[in-house]
């Protein structure tokens, strides 16, 4: 299954959008059903890991902490996602690897696999932030190719697509709010974070 789209943020410059989309906590907060996104090492356990529910994001967060936890190219992350699709609500234990982070052109790509009871998926996703031709804003282009198997896939695209679209739309409207909040703060902070990345 393929999903893609783009959206524009008239007032948020690409640099600031990049900082927000690089923050696993900010991404988690905008992704409905996502309990955490956290770096994964060999000892990681989905059973034992407890997410920090209250981690602050920009503008309140400590810029150094935001910079320290930003997505790193080549790093594998564990994510726990619970999604209600039709009559089932699987809890996907997902591992995502950041394949590419192009700081110059604001490109980030990732691959991932997830498994839940009776369902599994693998995906390749990417996004690129373009500066708007008029003004300071950004145009964010995104794409995902997913292979879904098992119980979720059995429901068919007429059930899956609306759910996927809803998650994506929620995500971008929420992240837009977060970006706007960041935009209202001193751009010195985001510049500092970018410098630290």
């Amino acid at each position: 299954m393929e999903f893609d789209g783009e959206f524009e943020l008239e007032d948020v410059p690409p640099e600031k959008a990049w900082v927000v989309l690089s923050d696993p906590i900010a991404v988690r907060n905008s992704l409905k059903g996502c309990q955490y996104i956290t770096p994964m090492d060999d000892d990681f356990s989905y059973d034992d890991y407890e997410a920090d529910e209250d981690a602050e994001t920009l503008p309140e967060a400590d810029p150094e902490a935001v910079a320290a936890r930003a997505f790193v190219e080549g790093q594998e992350y564990a994510a726990l996602m619970q999604v209600g699709v039709g009559s089932v609500k699987p809890r996907f234990e997902t591992s995502v690897t950041i394949e590419e982070r192009d700081e110059e052109n604001f490109i980030m790509t990732a691959t991932g696999t997830g498994t839940a009871s009776g369902s599994s998926f693998s995906m390749e996703s990417g996004m690129q932030i373009h500066p708007l031709e008029d003004g300071e804003g950004s145009r964010i282009e995104w794409w995902t190719e997913a292979d879904i198997s098992g119980r979720i896939a059995q429901l068919g695209s007429r059930v899956i697509n609306p759910v996927a679209n809803k998650i994506v739309n929620n995500f971008f409207s929420d992240i837009e709010t977060q970006m706007s909040d960041v935009d209202e703060t001193d751009s010195g902070i985001t510049d500092r974070i970018r410098g630290m990345l």
Partner: protein, 827 residues
């Protein structure tokens, strides 16, 4: 006064007997006795597998593959074992230790109980979690981490046979393709010649789509190993407990006398509960290893996605005929999807089941059929869903093709049938493919159906609507099917090598009542009543004095189980023959009691009494004889009054019927409404007309589901997209019209009571009648076929293709009905 030979000829007498009025008020043959089993069913006291509770019982949940084709790289149990309440996690490796890793299918293929290496269909069994309760077992199953190397799936028999298709069965040595089997019947050369020389030939492609029997109770088992007795009891949803015991013994190495299979109340089988499934083996194995009872009950989607499907025959039919509609030859070619294993439930000598009965009710002396079956990455199956071994597909083929021929010749389809029927005097009739039909009077059944359906009226009405360009078209479909049921005989029919006989044992107790044990098992057919009626009839007992037991291999005589409408033809025959054995002994006891010579004792069917020849007053009842058997037995005889019979039928029986379906097809929406549904069945002599009627109703409902709603579908990745009741639609009472049923009676000449079996006639006979009706509504527009299930969009496309569809905009009415518009919401 009547005797046996007058009422029901014994097998050796031969020749069909006329219908007789039955009923002596004791609940024997022909009486509408209320079903004995309904007392417990309608008061909620049935005892199904999931009702069984045992002290210390554990619960099993099966981890299934989300992929259709994948190699298992690793299974990590550790997280599941940490879940509080999880007792064990079993994988193929554990089963290998106990030699239980694989099981034979009914066609002697080998299927992993739990996948050892490669997953071959979505929802295949990968691991089993055993826990203290069901919820915990489910939680544990979520924590079993399986690493898969996902492979390209093969979906569709046509794709499976392409040269570059991935090989599914690389576990079979030297296997380099997905070819499963070829089969052929009839005379190729003669058939080709007949087609070359014929005035008219017709050809049609048709798919009998993949169905699932979808019994309301899913499959389940409670394995209960008793280490004290070293005995394994398995309570399971089995249509064939004895053969399952034999298979369990073969698979496990546990001696057969140390295994007891109990099939308690079963909520529908329809062929789905004939095969052995991994869940049964896992529950039994887990109980054996853990020494505690273990219950496994599958969910609905597990049932549809992993247990035996039915049909999936992609067929081409051809008929060669004269200009005036005399059929000269029939030819067919089939591509069959067998799923990932060859697990079709067919007698081993008939790899395509009884598909070679595709000449149907017609006297066609030239026929040829071929079939190729392929492996695909779908669940294994090919079970006989409420039918005998592929006869459903055969009947669909010939009954559809006769309609195609009638349309080609512009003849009435009823007339084409009449012209080609095998005539009553031709029986016993040997078909072009070697089948020996016992008896039939096809025209009589058709005439009755035509009359009941008011056929001529609807033909006129159909024409009127065409001429008036009406919004709703009328279609009239006919199906004059012949069924073949009651397998054996044992020398040609077997399950896993065991001959298909059946059995009944009668024990008459000292106080004059009796216990009857039969080798078949019931899934709702009413055996406890039907068999009691046979014995009541044959012994002159009251039906209330007879209890029928079944489904327990420790107590019941060996039998091959209930499927293919074989219970009455085979076990029913055994019950009648055993009754007659009891009657023979009863005569000796009667002679002793009445102080007469044994040869001077007659039995009177009407009164049920034994009496001295020529002196009806010197009589004695079976109750008194029973007392005599235990309290004053003649010295020439052993004490007691019992008999057992293992019945190997000399031939199968051939029930038949004519169904007429009238439908309205909405030219705007493609919706199909049933206007009339007439079913005339002939199942030989009738035991309980009420049970027969119930069987017909149920089967017709399933036929409607087949024709209109049901299809197990897959996407290209092998995901089952028709694998639950949200997507696999069963008909409800809303979709079922009123049925008008009728019957004719043409007894089977070789069956002890002239009965033939009826359970599957309606499922077999009705789909072609329904499709023929829908096609008939559009045949004036050149439509020759509509694929099942005939959903509104499928039908609308055909309407559109024929130029018969109506644009909804043409038909919008802005006039309001006064009464309706004046109503309120409370109305």
């Amino acid at each position: 006064m009547s005797s046996d030979s007058e009422r029901f000829a014994e097998a050796e007498d031969g020749g069909p007997q006329p219908e007789k009025h039955c009923g002596h008020g004791r609940g024997g043959m022909g009486e509408e006795v209320k079903r004995k089993e309904d007392q417990r069913f309608i008061t909620g006291r049935g005892n199904y597998v999931d009702d069984i509770k045992k002290p210390g019982m554990l619960h099993c949940e099966i981890v299934r593959s989300p992929h259709a084709h994948a190699r298992i790289e690793n299974i990590d149990k550790s997280r599941a074992l940490k879940v509080d309440g999880v007792v064990a996690v079993l994988t193929a490796e554990d089963l290998l230790e106990h030699d239980l890793a694989t099981m034979p299918t009914l066609m002697d293929d080998t299927q992993d109980v739990l996948v050892n290496d490669k997953v071959k269909f979505q929802s295949q069994e990968v691991a089993a979690v055993i826990a203290t309760d069901r919820y915990t077992a489910k939680d544990g199953a979520q924590k079993v981490v399986v690493d898969y190397d996902v492979l390209d799936p093969v979906i569709g028999a046509d794709k499976a046979l392409e040269d570059d298709a991935p090989v599914i069965r690389d576990d079979i040595e030297g296997k380099e393709d997905n070819h499963c089997l070829d089969w052929e019947t009839g005379d190729e050369e003669a058939t080709a010649k007949a087609f070359e020389e014929a005035d008219v030939t017709v050809k049609e492609d048709m798919l009998y789509q993949r169905l699932h029997p979808a019994p309301i109770e899913t499959c389940g088992a409670v394995g209960d190993y008793d280490p004290g007795k070293d005995k394994l009891t398995v309570h399971m949803t089995s249509q064939a407990p004895h053969i399952h015991r034999t298979l369990f013994a073969q698979v496990s190495g546990i001696p057969e006398h140390k295994i007891r299979i109990v099939s308690p109340d079963v909520g529908g089988g329809f062929g789905n509960k004939v095969p052995i499934y991994p869940g049964y083996v896992v529950a039994a194995a887990a109980s054996y290893v853990l020494e505690e009872p273990v219950k496994w009950v599958e969910e609905r989607s597990e049932n549809i996605q992993s247990t035996g499907f039915a049909r999936d025959y992609d067929m081409t039919g051809e008929i060669a005929a004269t200009e005036d509609g005399e059929i000269q030859a029939v030819r067919t070619d089939v591509l069959a999807d067998h799923g990932a294993f060859n697990a079709v439930a067919q007698p081993s000598k008939f790899p395509a089941g009884f598909f070679n009965i595709f000449t149907g009710s017609y006297d066609i002396d030239t026929a040829y059929g071929t079939l190729t079956a392929a492996y695909t990455n779908t669940a294994p199956g090919g079970v006989a869903y409420r039918c005998s071994f592929r006869v459903t597909e055969a009947v669909y083929l010939i009954e559809r093709m006769v309609k195609v021929l009638a349309d080609e010749l512009d003849m009435d389809p009823a007339e084409v049938r009449r012209k080609n029927f095998i005539q009553p005097e031709q029986f016993p009739y040997e078909s072009a493919t070697g089948w020996n039909y016992d008896s039939g009077d096809y025209e009589k059944a058709l005439d009755k159906a035509l009359e009941m359906a008011d056929y001529d009226h609807y033909r006129e009405e159909q024409q009127r609507r065409i001429e008036e360009d009406a919004d709703k078209l009328l279609g009239i479909g006919v199906s004059s099917f012949t069924e073949v049921v009651g397998a054996g005989p044992g020398q040609s029919c077997d399950i896993a090598g065991v001959e298909m006989f059946d059995s009944a044992e009668i024990r008459v107790h000292p106080t004059g009542n009796a216990t009857v044990r039969v080798g078949v098992q019931t899934q709702g057919q009413g055996h406890e009543t039907t068999f009691a009626q046979i014995v009541a009839e044959e012994l002159g007992m009251d039906v209330d004095d007879i209890t029928v037991e079944h489904g327990d291999t420790d107590t019941d005589p060996y039998g091959l189980g209930t499927y293919g409408s074989r219970s009455t033809p085979v076990a029913g025959a055994a019950a009648a023959v055993a009754s007659r054995k009891v009657r023979e002994k009863a005569k000796a006891i009667a002679a002793n009691e009445l102080e007469a010579a044994e040869e001077d004792i007659d039995w009177d069917r009407e009164s049920g009494q034994f009496h001295v020849t020529g002196a009806p007053d010197r009589s004695i009842s079976i109750t008194e004889i029973a007392a005599g058997a235990y309290m004053n037995h003649p010295k020439s005889e052993e004490p007691g009054l019992e008999a057992i019979n293992y019945y190997d039928p000399p031939e199968m029986t051939y029930p038949f019927g004519s169904y007429i379906v009238v439908v309205e097809v909405d030219r705007e929406t493609g919706e199909v409404e049933f206007e009339k549904f007439v079913a005339v069945d002939d199942c030989g002599n009738r035991i309980n007309p009420m049970i027969i009627e119930g069987q017909i109703h149920g089967g017709l409902a399933q036929g409607i589901g087949t024709a209109m709603l049901e299809h197990v579908t897959f996407d290209d990745n092998g995901n089952v997209t028709g694998g639950d009741f949200m997507n696999y639609l069963l008909p409800t009472s809303m979709e079922i019209p009123e049925f008008e049923t009728g019957h004719t009676v043409t007894p089977s000449p070789h069956h002890p009571i002239g009965a033939k079996g009826v359970g599957e006639s309606p499922t077999v006979g009705s789909p072609p009648a329904i499709v023929n009706a829908v096609v008939d509504a559009m045949s004036h527009g050149g439509i020759s076929h509509v694929e099942m299930p005939m959903t509104p969009d499928t039908v609308w496309e055909k309407l559109d293709e024929a130029g018969l569809s109506m644009d909804p905009a043409d038909n919008v009415s802005l006039e309001f009905d006064d009464q309706q518009s004046g109503g309120t919401a409370d109305d």
